[in-house]
Subunit: 343 residues, 2 copies
DNA sequence: CATATGAACTGCAACGTTGCAATTCATAAT
DNA sequence: ATTATGAATTGCAACGTTGCAGTTCATATG
């Protein structure tokens, strides 16, 4: 009953519109139509116009299976989705970013979730041997990430959210973690902290090493104590307990840097329960990615990574890679965006 | 140098393994191989064994494009991902649930993100006219959801996370919101509340109506005041302000039910800032889906929906629907799981 | 007038799969 | 020995696309 009807839906006797349909309508051969639609320059303008008009009028969209069978091109990009909970709403932001970037292209997004501790080389192996996508996006890379190795070896297009330490270069778009750590340390030092602590997670990632190295260097330069707390395997409840214990500890640090939203929430919960006021007894800077934390802790300093934008950037790099661009031109770093509160 | 090498990778001269390869190896015809692999019962056991062995040894996997072109079956299920931020990590949980359920099947998951306010009928229209998936999962349905209407009309397999009010039945797996509201009201009444408030979002969803109706009914039964606060369009910061104002309001409710994690965080932030202690001056019950809130507010009552499980349930329903099961058998409700704290 | 040139278009095969119609071949019935 | 029966297997066409090798046909060249 709605007056808003889909314009695309044709009269009635619906059969799929294929090249053949257009050929019949225009009176041209199938080959000509195909050629024309792909921009064959040997065709005369009149013919090309005729084909284009017919294609548009009929709502022609190339059949993915046909194209794929013939050319091997899947027009699919695959996102291998890490199970990590560190960054809140990481999946949604990343996927929306990708979705936004492929809008208007022929690409579809296939998502392959990974589960805790599962070896994701299987996933890559599957994609590689079944050519199930034209390119892959992976996240949370390690220094010698076996997935990266596999894809380099078989010269398969991919981008990583995260760097590696391979000699052979590859496409990536990464958060500038070194800069993150440096900014955070400087800020804490500037606020007068003398004994700071970095609460950090998964030591298997390149990110971990980048942050830690930069953290130590910058703290040394500022001449302040730099401790490390490895929160990797801890559950949120355990992390909360850490905060609580820290609140009561005699040698409590006067500044904390936290690289994960999940751990920030848990830690702050514990500290607060222990009577410590963030911004007073302890300074805290966290890495912010989701918009939830600023609502929760509007008065806290943070440094932001825009995951939506990262998804877009990764996708654009990948598409260029698929089109054959040199990997050296496909490496970008995302500058951390500090959000300092009242000074 | 790792000793763990992929077993699948064949000797060297790599060409894709197709039916033809198996035919050559076994000395059978292509048709026989195809028939056998699909379990042709007219073949003699010896032949079938031979084919199966060869297929396994060669690591045969049917080519998706070939199958799709021939049969029209895409072996893809599409998730239309709502942009809503209400439930934290909804996307990840849902996708992992789906991923878990399709593990071992031939299905891939294609994710189509939606953006704020965008009409998602286009998305459905695209899937429908290009047969780009065998089935669709949609979420956050409205009572007369046009997407549902479209898919019913074209008899296309789908499941929704959320019910509708159409006369024609369709497959769904939904959270039992009525039960959620009833449980929450009873709990608050049991704690002595006389004037409660439901903070709720998007009034375009069926869920909204189900909750509100049940909420009112149950409050009436308990003989207590039942207010409604529509938090739909509000940003987290605005929601926080609402909490702050509420803290200072003379007629502040003594119990609050919140249907969204995002709004819970913001509201509690505001209330707390305003000096109100949750569980003392005000009772609060929220809908919990992510594991973050219990860490943040360990002492607060909540009612849980397991989104991971929902993803799995939706997928199983959808696959049965694709296989032709009657929609009447594909409607399930997920019982809310109350988590009451210290009494 | 015969032939070369080139512009504009077309036929055909192939990608990997499936399902029907047809074929082979041994055995049983006449 | 011929034919019918049926079990086991195979050939062929088709799904929609692309790209190469032609073909057609008008015009230019000798």
């Amino acid at each position: 009953m709605s007056s808003k009807t889909t314009t695309k839906t044709m009269a009635s006797g619906n059969r799929r519109v294929t090249l053949k349909t257009i050929a019949e309508v225009t009176g041209l051969s199938l080959s000509t139509v195909s050629l024309s639609l792909r921009g064959g320059t040997t065709l005369k303008q009149e013919t090309r116009d005729k084909v284009n008009e017919a294609a548009k009028a009929l709502g022609y969209v190339p059949d993915r299976a046909g194209v794929r069978l013939r050319t091997g091109k899947t027009n699919v990009i695959a996102l291998v989705l890490d199970g990590s909970e560190d960054s809140i709403d990481f999946a949604r932001n990343m996927i929306q970013g990708i979705g936004h970037a492929i809008k208007g292209t022929r690409y579809h997004l296939s998502v392959i979730p990974e589960f805790e501790g599962q070896s994701s080389t299987e996933t890559i192996d599957y994609i590689l041997s079944n050519r199930t996508a034209d390119g892959v996006i992976i996240t949370h890379t390690g220094p010698r990430d076996p997935r990266v190795q596999m894809m380099i070896d078989s010269d398969f297009p991919f981008v990583s959210h995260g760097r590696t330490e391979f000699y052979t270069p590859h496409a990536y778009h990464d958060f500038h973690s070194e800069e993150f750590a440096a900014l955070a340390v400087k800020r804490l030092a500037g606020k007068g902290c003398r004994d700071i602590m970095l609460v950090i997670g998964d030591d298997s990632t390149t990110n971990y090493h980048n942050i830690v190295t930069s953290y130590r260097k910058e703290a040394a330069r500022a001449g302040i104590e730099a401790r490390l707390f490895e929160g990797a395997g801890l559950s949120p409840a355990e992390m909360r307990k850490v905060g609580l214990d820290l609140a009561a500890a005699p040698n409590r640090p006067d500044g904390i840097i936290c690289d994960s939203e999940m751990r920030t929430i848990a830690l702050v919960g514990g500290l607060t329960e222990g009577g410590v006021r963030i911004g007073r007894e302890v300074q805290l800077i966290y890495k912010q990615t989701s918009g939830i934390l600023p609502t929760l802790f509007p008065e806290m300093d943070s440094i932001r990574e825009d995951v939506f934008a990262a998804g877009g950037a990764l996708t654009r790099l990948l598409l260029r890679r698929i089109e054959g661009a040199a990997v050296e031109d496909l490496q970008t770093l995302d500058e951390p965006q500090p959000h300092w509160r009242s000074d």
